[in-house]
């Protein structure tokens, strides 16, 4: 049985290969895309992601921002972990957001 489809819609094969490549890269190079810390100033190396900025930019992509006092610190840890998976955040980004929310009472 031949599946007919417009020739222009065969990029799924390319996407499969691309995703497979991305998975391999993600598994082997966890810090890909991040600048070499030795090239940063000591202040930049020590600061890490800006939790407040990430909260404002990332969380508002899908929904209204929930005030930090909506949940307790322990609840925010759980919720931000859930959002780390859903919104595809790095561990460092999610920790920065969680620290900001837990501290912003």
């Amino acid at each position: 049985m031949k599946l007919s489809m417009p020739p222009s819609f065969r990029p799924h094969l390319v996407v499969t290969l691309l995703v497979g490549l991305l998975c391999g890269v993600a598994a082997l190079v966890p810090t890909l895309g991040q600048a070499d810390p030795s090239e940063k100033s000591p202040k930049q190396v020590n600061e890490g992601p800006d939790g407040a900025k990430l909260w404002a930019q990332t969380c508002s992509q899908c929904h209204n921002l929930r005030p930090p006092d909506t949940f307790s610190g322990a609840q925010w840890e759980v919720i931000v972990h859930h959002m780390r998976v859903r919104a595809r955040l790095t561990v460092a980004e999610s920790r920065a957001i969680a620290d900001f929310l837990k501290g912003g009472k």
């Binding site: 599946l3 929904h63 307790s72």
Partner: protein, 435 residues
């Protein structure tokens, strides 16, 4: 003794007498009585000084007991309050696992042309367990009203294992990553309109998959990032036994017939934080719902675009998605048992939606800043030869009022046109909240 000597003696005596008579009063010797009097005075002064010193450091005999008891009572009460608060704080973190019950709920009213009016309600609790820093369980149950009963369904239930900063393994039932509306925007308090778009919900795309998924993000510098998801899951079924849905895919089957599996993926690229392009697909060879006859090859594809920009005193949000579904040619109801066949067609359909919303943030009025205006256009283009699906186009205008950041009142008017059928224009109202 000569007169000279006498004269000298007399002068000396006179000098002595003169010195004695010229002594100042303060140089005069003090009598014993005066000395004793002075000593007594000094003793009295010393006693007074000592008394004043003691009064400065200690309260007086009359007032000391009252002040001390008040302060002690206040300190004791404050200490007790702090203990209570500490215990309450500890109760929020039971044991070593952290659990949160959250979710959303809604109530709606709709009046549809040629279809009456109806109230409805939903309740979607979400259960989250933070098992360790790298392990989480997440699950959502959907309680909905369905005719004369309540329907209960498992929206998702998955264990997430964060392998590293860029990769998470998800196993179980998870929301379809190629369907960005369902994965990100379908919760009642996030979806800005009372209803959902055609095509991407109860349409031609899967809403969830049962299988295994690998997902993550690759930062590409300061702001750009590439996110990805790839999965293998149970396949949908091809509906061949229900005449009202012949030739469509049943995505809500949770058991795979045969050994076939579906493979899918989505890649999203964000050059800046408020813009994302995405493409996803799912490919499978699906069996029929009866298990009879050969399976058919299927391919679903989706392209999505989302953007946010601040301007004109508020935030503009663009959400859009377009999907294509290709189901291989097959002959349905070959013997005519369903009163429809033999029916042969390739169920190739497509459709999507575009939604633009505006919410003011600097309009100078708290009331206006809580309002949001939405316009959504969506369409579904049915397959040629499909006896059950009509081309449909809708245009919806909505206004939201945000009571809080997670509770919203919605009102919308929807122009709904189906080819060859009367319009289904509707007024839609709803309230939704997240907890």
């Amino acid at each position: 003794m000569t007169s000279k000597n006498l004269f000298l003696i007399a002068c000396t005596a006179f000098t002595i007498l003169m010195n004695a008579s010229s002594t100042k009063a303060e140089d005069a010797p003090v009598s014993r009585a005066e000395f004793d009097k002075l000593v007594a005075k000094m003793a009295a002064m010393q006693a007074e000084i000592d008394r004043l010193k003691s009064e400065k450091t200690e309260p007086s005999a009359e007032s000391a007991p009252a002040k001390g008891s008040g302060t002690s009572k206040s300190l004791a009460a404050l200490s007790s309050k702090v203990d209570q608060l500490e215990k309450a704080a500890q109760l929020t973190t039971p044991g070593e696992n952290k659990f949160v019950l959250t979710g959303n709920a809604s109530a709606t009213f709709s009046t549809i042309n040629n279809n009456g009016s109806n109230f409805d309600a939903t309740f979607y609790p979400i259960f989250l367990w933070h098992l360790t820093d790298n392990l989480m369980f997440e699950g959502e149950i959907e309680f909905e009203l369905d005719g004369n009963s309540t329907s209960t369904s498992l929206e998702y239930a998955a264990i997430d294992w964060t392998i590293n900063d860029n990769m998470t393994l998800v196993a179980g039932k998870f929301l379809s990553p190629m369907n960005t509306f369902v994965e990100r925007y379908v919760p009642k308090w996030i979806n800005k309109l009372p209803d959902t778009p055609l095509t991407v919900y109860d349409g031609i795309l899967p809403e969830s998959n049962v299988g295994v998924e690998l997902r993550g993000v690759l930062p590409l510098g300061q702001e750009a990032r590439l996110n990805y998801a790839a999965y293998v899951s149970n396949t949908p079924d091809l509906i061949t036994s229900d005449p009202s849905n012949l030739g469509h895919l049943e995505f809500d089957n949770f058991a795979s017939s045969g050994h076939g599996k579906a493979f899918g993926a989505r890649v999203g690229f964000s050059p800046i934080h408020n813009l994302e392009f995405g493409y996803g697909f799912q490919k499978s060879k699906v069996p029929t719902d009866t298990g009879d006859g050969p399976g058919v090859n299927t391919l679903q594809q989706s392209a999505d675009l989302s953007a946010h920009v601040d301007g004109l005193g508020g935030r503009w949000t663009l959400l859009s998605q377009y999907a294509w579904s290709r189901i291989g040619h097959t002959t349905l109801d070959p013997n005519g048992d369903l009163g429809v066949g033999p029916l042969g067609f390739a169920n190739n359909s497509d459709g999507g939606y575009v939604q633009i919303s505006y919410r003011g943030t600097q309009l100078g009025s708290d009331f206006l800043n809580k309002m949001e205006f939405i316009v959504r256009g969506d369409r579904l283009k049915a397959a040629s030869g499909d006896p059950n699906t009509l081309d449909e186009r809708r245009l919806t205008f909505g206004i939201d009022y945000w009571l809080t950041s997670s509770t919203v009142l919605k009102a919308a008017y929807e122009l709904d046109h189906q080819e060859g059928a009367a319009n289904s224009n509707a007024f839609l109202f709803g309230v939704a909240t997240s907890f």
